[in-house]
């Protein structure tokens, strides 16, 4: 379903998605390492749980498995996600 592929920063809050591609070159090396260590990588199932303060879009809080990970929109923009159909069940 190519029409449901978007960058992570466009993913609406609460919708489940899977990361299908990451433009690692767009990220600083340490940040890429840290994201992978936190389980944010190709294949990860996640959802956006919170975003921004005072109406801004930065930063984002992701639910990855049983963890919450904060990152910036700039990082999220480097990741392609695809929507998962059953929106209620969250990761494993």
């Amino acid at each position: 379903m190519p029409d449901s592929v978007m960058t992570l920063d466009m993913l609406p809050v609460g919708k489940n998605a899977r990361i299908v591609a990451v433009d690692w070159a767009a990220l600083v090396e340490e940040e890429a390492l840290r994201l992978r260590a936190l389980g944010v990588d190709v294949g990860s199932k996640l959802s956006v749980s919170h975003r921004g303060v005072f109406g801004g879009a930065d930063p984002l809080a992701l639910r990855v498995g049983r963890m919450t990970v904060a990152l910036r929109r700039a990082h999220a923009r480097a990741m392609q996600v695809t929507l998962l159909e059953n929106g209620l069940e969250s990761g494993q």
């Binding site: 940040e31 936190l38 303060v53 930065d58 904060a70 494993q92």
Partner: protein
Amino acid sequence: MSRWHKAALVGNPNAGKSALFNALTGARQKIANYPGVTVERRGGRMILPNGAPIELTDLPGSYGLQATSPDEEVTRKVILGELAGEPAPDVLVIVLDASNLEQHLVFAQEVIALGKPTVVALNMIDLAERDGLVLDPKALSNALGVPVIPTVAVRRRGLTELGEAITQAEGHAGDAPHPRARLDLAERRMEAHAIADGVIISESAKHRLHSRMDDVLLHPWIGPVFLLGLLFVVFQAVFAWAAPLQDGLEGFVGLISDAVKGAMAPGLLRDFLTDGVMAGVGAVVVFLPQIIILFFFILVLEATGYMARAAFLMDRMMAGVGLSGRSFIPLLSSFACAVPGIMATRSITDPKDRLTTILIAPLMTCSARLPVYAVIIAAFIPNRPVGVVGLQGLVLFGLYVFGIVGAMVVALILRRSVTKGAASGFIMEMPKYQLPRLRDLGLGLFQRGWIFLRRAGTIILQVNIVLWLLLNFPQAPKGQDQVDASFAGHIANGLAVALKPIGFNRDIALALIPSMMAREVAVSSLATTYAVAAGDDDTTAHQLSAQLQKHWSLPTALAFLAWFVFAPQCISTIAVTRRETNGWKWPGFMLAYLFALAYVFAGITYWSAVALGF
């Protein structure tokens, strides 16, 4: 045995390692630094069930052996025995968060693959159960090939079993390691997923308390307002709750001083004890309640997991001055003390970010400034209610805000000049919310309070003795002012020439010299100076407030407050900056820019106040 065997706690951040460490070692712990680096080393003695002691180290939390921060570098080197002066641990205790198994197993596999004697503590199993997770520790043990002990550090569950497992593993301490096949990150993650699947017996979709708490606390509008309100409550509490305790301590010091006066014959020795030691050290010790209350809040915010939420909420604002939410935690810690604050910058991965944060950390109003602010505010600002808060509390809050705004402006300028570089990122795990445990809190407060008292008993005492000697010699001929005749008076008179334009008198110049050691020394120095100047007969000699009102004008007092917003008068901060930046360049820069700002802003304050006719 030539030496005690060593065990080390290893694990991801937020696995509950520190709580487990506290539970295993009790109060028998020592906090120091690793040799050659500035990463905090927490070590302690643990008594195994068979009565033998073992040295236990709490290694910094790490996501993998491939280090991305100085903390992780230390963990890697200690585990591999590559850190000079730090023998490799004989037994590794991997601490896993039971409710975050899949994630934490990624690093655990990497450590187990080293083939050293290893035990796994399946920690916080109660929280996992609360979340509706039922786990099978045996299955985990089979999958990993090492013993797995379910533990609840905060309830002391499983500690004996863990001790027994460590004893057993210790028996193999001398064996050569049997390294196993090393998997790469992707393989380890797949394996972790498979293991976690096999270990989780059942998982009910209970609504999780902490995601609901996040809905409120990370709410785009409610969250920041809550944080601001919380910070305001903290600072009001520091001032209001501490007052009765402080009065009590003050009375106690006065009682001792009077008792000494009654028991000893008048003379230099008695003066030395009452004016030099008690007036000086007593003036600082009475601030113990405020420091304890401030640290209480900071420790609670850290232990509950709220600190990371505060970092999330502050990230946008910090990004505005070229920093990230990560800088917020070191900066908030700097409200207690810049030294742990600057040390906490090690978790900031970007070097330019980190340097900027170090340079502005001394602008956060640390607890050592509280004595200075409190004394001046109490003496010069009327205790009038303004709406629901007092004017004194409001002025104190204003000084905090002044420091924060100053820090933000400085950061903005630094990020565009001396620490120019690419914009930094913000990636951070949000730990689960947890109730803080009283024992850990108490231990943390005791350690902080003890450090403060030790400083009062050593550095501050020594400085005061020297100051007292300089103030009393040479002795003035009868009828002349003792301070003017003394060595200290001569030095201060010289310095006072430079400080006169910003409204500082000789007594202030006198207090500023020794308070290079630590800011709170300014209070004790002023107390000592006025006690010496007043002599024995003056009943108000030991009431610093009255003395200040007599000798200082309001503009001078305000300028003095403005000075201390900026002045980097703390030898420990300078020393830790030198250590953290590996040289004298940045502490030198810090000293120069902060003294320049202190001079300018004290001057502006003084002349504005004079012009307004205060």
